[in-house]
Structure formats: structure tokens, C-alpha cells
């Protein structure tokens, strides 16, 4: 189940120096100029409760994801990402309703992105940027509740070092922007548990809805956003045993809106699982919500 949750959070967090807009569900395309900073804050809510078993598991995650980026040079940008989550799992066990969970800061991720290819023309740009993410085990992985130590899926941190590598490509015009990203995440082991590796493809279309016609100056834009996240997670491992009830493939679609100005962006979206092919009794997603802002400085 940990891999499924990691998959969903990665869809929000890091499944993502230069200048372009950015999708809602991944961070790798965040624009930042040389010597400049970008701060992104997202409030998120996830309901993961598609459980066919008698336990009727209902997992809810609410939290804030903070991302701070800095343009080291024209082409190199670095980012730090820190999530804070409240995780609550309700289930039935031995005829009783139980609630387990905790809250706290999760693991800190550090990302470097290098724009390897760039082609600019009037009113449009094409960019390709590989990136590398290291997730450090800064969050607690020993949290307990009144019953016992919490399972890995409810711990704020994983306790493991994880690596994520990929590339993001952006094609932006005055009318629309397309982003595509391919990434692979390999998870480390901690406390005898290793979440399954994750491979994913993310796509995002941002289409200018308003103003319909551009006059002079720099008007604010309203973008309609449609994103898709195709995510495959391998099975988790407990010791040397694969957890047959973990991992699988999910396709999310995420419609949303962005209001874009020179200095800041506000955005909101809903994440819906269109297809879920999960292993065993792995928990499926019901839906996700996210809203937030970005500031250039």
C-alpha cells in the first residue's frame, strides 16, 4: 500500500532556469530565472478508500506541500520540497472501527534541473530539461499511536533515501502550453520495508481561456488546465517478501484552472483516477483536490 500512497503523493510532489509556466500536478517544470526564486505552496487532500475487503479501509491525507526554487544559472535550477501531512486511516478490525494516523513533516526532497535543449522564437519556446531528485529521510519513520507503531503507509517519513530521475519537456506559445515528463523513482529500504519503484508519465495542457485576444502590455492570463498522470508502481517488499497487495497502474486525469500574473499564480485542480489496475487488495484512489499559489521573487 505504501507504493500506492507514494505514487499518489509523487503525482503531486515530485513526479516534477529558465522561464515558462508550469503544471499543477508536478513541479519539475516550475520556471525560475537566474538569480531568481520561486515559492510554491499547495494545499492538498486525497481520499484513498476504494477497498473491496471487509476491513473497509478509508485513508485520508490532508497537507501542505512547500517548494522553493532558485535559479543558479540560466540553465541550472535547484529546488527543495517539504511536505506536511495529516494521515488518517479508518478500518474495521475484529468487529470494531479503528482509526489510526499521525501528522508531521515528511521527507525533504532536493532537485536539480538542467535545461539541456532550448529553442526560442517569437512568442514561443521549446525546452527539454533532465532532472535528478534525492529524497532524504528527514521525516519521522517511528511514529506510534495508542495501539502500536504505525505501518509505513502512515508514517510521515519513509526512513529511506530515494532517487528519482527523469526529463521534462515544455512547448509554450502565447495561446497554450504543453508539458510532458517521464521519470523513474527507485526507493530505498528502511525498517525492513522497501516501497516499490515507480515509473510515470505526466502530461499537461494549459490553454489560455482569457483574455481571448491579446492587446498590449502584460495582461493576466486564465488558463484551463487538463493533466494526465500515468503511474506504475512495483510491489512493495517486506524483508525479502513481495507484498502481493501493493503496487499497480493508475491513470489520473486532472482538470484545473490557473490565474497567472507577472508575480504570482493561483491554481486549483481535482485529480480523478480514470483507470486503476492495482495488485491484490491494494487501496485505490477515490479523488484528490489541490489548490495553491506560486510567487516569483
Amino acid at each position: 500500500m505504501r507504493a500506492v500512497i507514494a505514487t499518489g503523493l509523487a503525482a503531486l510532489c515530485l513526479a516534477g532556469a529558465t522561464a515558462w509556466g508550469a503544471p499543477i500536478t508536478f513541479n519539475t517544470a516550475l520556471p525560475v530565472h537566474q538569480g531568481g526564486w520561486v515559492l510554491r505552496e499547495q494545499v492538498i487532500y486525497r481520499k484513498i478508500a476504494d477497498d473491496a475487503t471487509a476491513a473497509r479501509r478509508d485513508l485520508r491525507l490532508a497537507g501542505v506541500v512547500s517548494v522553493l526554487g532558485y535559479g543558479v544559472s540560466r540553465d541550472l535550477a535547484v529546488f527543495g520540497l517539504l511536505p506536511w501531512f495529516d494521515r488518517r486511516l479508518e478500518l474495521r478490525s475484529a468487529g470494531q472501527n479503528l482509526e489510526r494516523g499521525t501528522q508531521g513533516f515528511g521527507d525533504l526532497s532536493l532537485m536539480a534541473r538542467y535545461t539541456a535543449y532550448e529553442r526560442n522564437s517569437p512568442g514561443r519556446t521549446l525546452r527539454v530539461a533532465p532532472f535528478l531528485v534525492v529524497k532524504a529521510p528527514t521525516g519521522s519513520d517511528e511514529a506510534r499511536d495508542r495501539l502500536a507503531r504505525l505501518p509505513p503507509s502512515l508514517q510521515p517519513g519513509s526512513g529511506a533515501w530515494d532517487l528519482l530521475a527523469g526529463a521534462v519537456s515544455t512547448w509554450q506559445t502565447l495561446d497554450f502550453q504543453l508539458d510532458g515528463q517521464l521519470s523513474y523513482r527507485t526507493n530505498g529500504e528502511a525498517n525492513g520495508f522497501r516501497a516499490g519503484d515507480v515509473v510515470r508519465f505526466d502530461g499537461s495542457l494549459q490553454y489560455r481561456l482569457w483574455p481571448r485576444r491579446l492587446a498590449g502590455g502584460v495582461p493576466a492570463f486564465v488558463y484551463g488546465v487538463l493533466e494526465a498522470n500515468l503511474i506504475h508502481a512495483a510491489r512493495d517488499r517486506v524483508g525479502v517478501t513481495r507484498d502481493l497487495n501493493s503496487g499497480g497502474t493508475t491513470l489520473f486525469v486532472s482538470p484545473g484552472l490557473q490565474y497567472v500574473t507577472r508575480k504570482w499564480i493561483v491554481e486549483a485542480g481535482v485529480q480523478i483516477p480514470l483507470l486503476q489496475d492495482l495488485n491484490g487488495t491494494a487501496l485505490g484512489y477515490d479523488f484528490g483536490l489541490s489548490a495553491g499559489f506560486r510567487v516569483n521573487f
Binding site: 522561464a19 532550448e118 522564437s121 519556446t125
Partner: protein
Amino acid sequence: MLNGKLIGRRIAVTLGLALFASNALAQTAYRIQVDGLACPFCAYGIEKKLGAIAGVARVETDIAAGTVTATMADGATMDEASATRAVQEAGFSLRGFEALGQAAANGAGAGAK
């Protein structure tokens, strides 16, 4: 007496015109054509970089035209190399660099600095 008043008026008008002309002529503006500029969030970086060049008083972007107009303080000038560097550091490419006349300089609207 009449001639004295007339001469005084002429001197005042001449001084005023001279002052206006020197002010207008001293203020130079440049139109910078930028490739890759395609959204409002992108405009901030280029305005910040161009605004940081010594002598730049005002920066105004026209995103549809892909141009940035930099108006200089009195007597200040900008060279193309500085503009190119600022545009590149903002993540874009410079396509054109052109000095404008005083009318355009004085006509620039409220922009970022």
C-alpha cells in the same frame, strides 16, 4: 516698456523650450525584441533583469509583440551586450535591439523597475 515685456516673454519661452528639449533628448529608450516570451509569469524575470541594468528607469513589456521597452534615466544609455546578457539570464533569446526616439521614450507607460 512694451519691448521689454516682449523680450522677457521670449526669454522665458526659450528657456522653457530649451529645458524641455534637453530633458526629452537626454531620456533614451530601447526596444528589445525577445524570443521565447510567452506568458505573464515569464515577463517578471526579464523585467527584473533589464531593470537591474544601471540607468534603466522604467521597463515595459508587450507580451503579444514579444518586446520589452527600457526607458533610461536622463543621460544614461544601454549597450546591446548588456541587454543580451540580461535577456539570456532571464532565460530568453535576444532577437533585436533598437534605440527609440524621444517621443517613444516619453510615451512609455507604467512598467516595472
